[in-house]
């Protein structure tokens, strides 16, 4: 019962933060700006708009995670607002899960809003039928942001906002290359192979959520892939939050 309450409050915190409104407006402007490139795209306008639009959703969502999510718990500890929550009958894991759910909810709203803007722009270009592809792309971007938010909560619970932003960004960057890393590990010798395999398994497998090229060409993502990506995101988030909870459980709040 306490998890939804904390999630609701975190959602309220994120949506009342001017950063979120600013990022959504900037993202909307960028997507609208793709209209200008449409005429220069030599018949590839639909592809360009869809690809850039979905990338914008992903990157601007990441920006929100870095600006808001990485200080989500650390700021509460620094400002001591966490005292008022943890002295109530709330377990520390419930607190972390609530924070993650709340910010993830706000990011889903952002992904949905920017997805609607993108669909509107495509409709204006005469490609209204791209709706399902945009919806799938926005859904996968939402899943990706949910995974990154779980990592942000983990790092935020254990370190300062600046360090957790760096760690989160690092995991995001390496996660984007996890398939290449895995391929490289296959060809690497001995100890390096094991090390690379461990790293590739630890970082999130973000290419799973990147179906932008497919969406840009108007081809639908398979249901199988969507289910697989959803399950992967849930399992990865579960593991990260379990780790965060274990570390957070023994933490002192001076």
């Amino acid at each position: 019962m306490t998890v939804p309450l904390i999630a609701r409050n975190t959602f309220r915190e994120a949506t009342r933060d001017r950063v979120l409104a600013g990022v959504v407006i900037a993202g909307g402007v960028v997507i609208l700006g793709t209209q200008l490139l449409h005429t220069l795209a030599l018949g590839e306008g639909r592809r360009l708009t869809t690809d850039l639009g979905l990338t914008t959703i992903s990157l601007f969502g990441l920006l929100i995670v870095l600006l808001v999510g990485t200080s989500l718990v650390a700021k509460e500890i620094e400002r001591r607002t966490i005292f008022n929550l943890l002295v109530r009958p709330i377990s520390r894991p419930a607190y972390l899960v609530g924070k993650w759910l709340g910010l993830s909810g706000a990011l889903w709203v952002v992904a949905g809003s920017l997805g609607l803007v993108l669909w509107g722009v495509l409709a204006l270009q005469g490609h209204g039928a791209m709706g399902p592809a945009v919806l799938e792309g926005a859904y996968l971007a939402g899943l990706e942001l949910t995974v990154i938010t779980a990592l942000a909560v983990l790092f935020s619970a254990l370190s300062t906002p600046v360090l957790s932003a760096l760690y989160t960004l690092g995991f995001y960057a390496v996660g984007q290359w996890s398939w290449d890393l895995r391929e490289f590990a296959r060809q690497a010798p001995g100890a390096l192979k094991s090390t690379l395999e461990v790293v590739a398994n630890l970082v999130p497998n973000l290419p799973v959520f990147n179906m932008r090229a497919l969406a840009a060409s108007g081809e639908p993502t398979t249901v199988y892939h969507l289910v697989l990506a959803t399950l992967y995101a849930l399992v990865y988030c579960g593991c990260v939050l379990a780790l965060a909870s274990a570390a957070f459980e023994s933490r002192d709040f001076k």
Partner: protein, 345 residues
């Protein structure tokens, strides 16, 4: 097994409120200790050592001590914000390791901080629901408690616009709005003007009338005297004394101020030189007598020397002096040094 999972007498703790007898003290600690390891030097600095404390149900207890003595550490250990290094503690019969131990607890931290983006009523509704109140009940109580702590005029004012005193009042409302059976307050008068302090005193007295157990820390002796049944004095992380306030104050030596006129050149007699100190002011001379048992002797001497006595006023020994006396460290820096160590840790 975790140190706080068993009863101090060795019985396994049942862990259900229904199994807890009403005779269990509201607060019980057995050998509760907390130490910190310095991040750079690795040196272990004690915060609280071997605290054995019992607060009976319905009792109001003051936790007193100089800055850095371990008062806040003790309260944070009890509320679960700090994890004990050793020892056990129970709140209303529940081990503090269990979330349930905080269900009937109200806590006000020192200098409370709140979510600035919420309004007063939103905040109280939120924390009320976290303490197990239903949404409608939380809303009604939030309105009532905002009014009760003097913030009911503007319930939708966002907290970033609250003054320090208003935040302290809101914190008190948040601690009380779910009708806790146990109230732990860390410096509840801190940052309040005289009216605010009076209101907080009244609230604590009202809670005592309701049978709520109250444990609070303070530096302010008059507040402690008014409110407490007993006090626990914490010095350098250890519980050095448990007594009623009356016992502590009456056991201490009192100073007496004697204000006189007509004695501008009077030399203090050698017989009183060790306890009497003279302070000359523009319109009068003030003698400070360190030992009230020698008051008659001092007054007789002054009258014999032609002094016109205008006032005799007992001066309460300051709480800080009492602490230093209790620690046997008056004039020394041992206690301060230990306190500084703990603060820096």
């Amino acid at each position: 097994m975790h140190p706080t999972e068993s009863h101090p007498d060795g019985r396994p703790f049942p862990g259900r409120p229904s199994a807890v007898t009403a005779r269990e003290p509201a607060i019980r600690t057995v050998g509760l200790s907390k130490s910190y390891r310095h991040p750079w030097t690795g040196r272990v600095v004690p915060g609280v050592e071997d605290l054995n404390l019992e607060v009976e149900r319905g009792e109001v207890m003051g936790c007193l001590g100089p800055n850095g003595a371990g008062k806040t550490t003790t309260l944070k250990l009890l509320t679960g914000l700090l994890k004990p290094t050793r020892g056990s503690a129970w709140l209303l019969g529940e081990p503090i390791t269990r979330v349930e131990s905080r269900r009937r607890l109200g806590f006000l931290p020192e200098q409370p901080y709140f979510y600035e983006y919420l309004s007063g009523i939103e905040y109280l509704e939120f924390v009320g629901q976290l303490s197990g109140l239903h949404a409608q009940d939380a809303h009604e109580r939030a309105r009532r408690w905002l009014g009760r702590v003097g913030l009911g005029q503007r319930p939708h004012l966002v907290l970033r616009k609250y003054s320090k005193g208003m935040l302290q009042r809101l914190g008190l409302g948040a601690a009380l709005m779910h009708d806790p059976e146990l109230l732990i307050l860390d410096e509840p008068m801190s940052g309040l003007d005289p009216f605010g302090r009076r209101d907080v005193r009244d609230l604590i007295l009202e809670q005592r009338g309701r049978g709520t157990t109250v444990l609070f820390s303070s530096h302010i002796l008059p507040d402690v005297e008014t409110l407490c049944d007993r006090v626990a004095i914490v010095m350098a992380g250890r519980l050095t004394r448990m007594a009623t306030v009356g016992d502590i104050v009456s056991g201490s030596r009192q100073r007496v101020e004697i204000r006189c006129a007509g004695v501008p050149l009077l030399e203090i007699t050698p017989a009183l030189a060790d306890v009497l100190e003279r302070q000359d002011h523009s319109h009068e001379t003030v003698f400070m007598l360190d030992d009230d048992t020698r008051l008659n002797e001092a007054i007789e001497w002054l009258l014999r020397r032609g002094a016109r006595i205008r006032a005799v006023a007992p001066q309460r020994t300051s709480l800080e002096d009492l602490f230093l006396d209790a620690a046997g460290a008056r004039g020394g820096s041992k206690v301060e040094a230990q306190s500084d160590d703990r603060r820096s840790a």
